[in-house]
Symmetry: none
Subunit: 136 residues, 2 copies
Amino acid sequence: MNRNPLADLGNLGDYLREQRESHKLSLRQLSDLVGVSNPYLSQIERGLKKPSAEILQQLAKGLQVSAESLYVRAGILEDRPVPDTEATTVRTAIAADPDLTQRQRDALIDIYESFVGAAKPVRPKRTATRTTTTKE
Amino acid sequence: MNRNPLADLGNLGDYLREQRESHKLSLRQLSDLVGVSNPYLSQIERGLKKPSAEILQQLAKGLQVSAESLYVRAGILEDRPVPDTEATTVRTAIAADPDLTQRQRDALIDIYESFVGAAKPVRPKRTATRTTTTKE
DNA sequence: CCAGTGTGCTTGCTCTAGTTAGCAAAATGC
DNA sequence: GCATTTTGCTAACTAGAGCAAGCACACTGG
C-alpha cells in the first residue's frame, strides 16, 4: 500500500502548490492564512518535509478542500472507507461502527450469522470510483 | 471550536486502551501486532503523547476499527468523515438485508440499540440514499 | 543608478514523536 | 521459599516536524 512515501509526498506537494496557485496566493499569504510558516510550506510543496495531519487540516481549510482528500493523498486514509449496498453490508457496517466495542461486534455478527445461517467471509470490496485527479 | 488537545488526547487514550483490552491484548502483543513500541503505546493510552496519523492508522488496523473514528477522536477529522457510514448504517443495513425476516431485523436492531445506548427513532428509510456527491 | 517590496528558498535551531534498554510489581511454577 | 515470565511503566536517546531569521533574485519607481 504505502510503497514509497516520498513519491507520494511529491504528489501531495504538487497538488498543494497547484491549489495554492489556483487561489492566487503567495507562500506568505497562505502562511498567514493557515498559520503555518512560509518556509515550511515551501518545503512541503517540494516534498522535502512530510506535514502532519494537523498541518494538512489547516491547509485544507485555507485552500477550501476537504481534509479527507489531503489525507488520502498523504497516505493516511484509504481511498473509500466504506463500500456497501450488498449482502455483506450488515457485517461491514457492524465492523466499522465506532460506537461498538469489539465484543459487541462479535456478538452482533454472531447473532446475524445465526439468523442468515451463513458463514460468509468478509470480502473487502474495492469501490474506487472517486479519484479527483482530473489532471489529464 | 476551541479544541483542547490534551483533553481530547485523554479521551483517545482511554478509547484505545478500552479497545486493546476488549481484544485481550497486552501492550507488547499489540506492539508486535501493529509495529509500534510498547512504551509508546502505554504513553499514548495515558494521554502523555500525541500519536501521528500513521500510528493511528496502524492502530486502527490492529484493533479493527476505522481509521476515521480514531482521527475524529484525535481531532484531525471533522465529526462526519463519511456521510452515512456511522450509526445509521448498521440500522439501514439490517433493514435492507433481504436474508433477514422482519422479526429478525427487529431483534437485531433491538440488540444494536441496547449496545450503543441510542434511542433514535427507527426511520423507515428505504434504500440508503447514497448520493455521496463528495464536494470539491 | 540605487531604495523599497515582493517572490521562493536555505540555514540553523527547538521541541516532541517514537525508539531501545531497563525497571518494579504482579502472576505462574519449582 | 525463590526463579521465570509477563505485566505496565520510566529513562535516555535519535530523528524529523515545524519555526524564526535571513538570503538571492525579481520587480517597481524615484
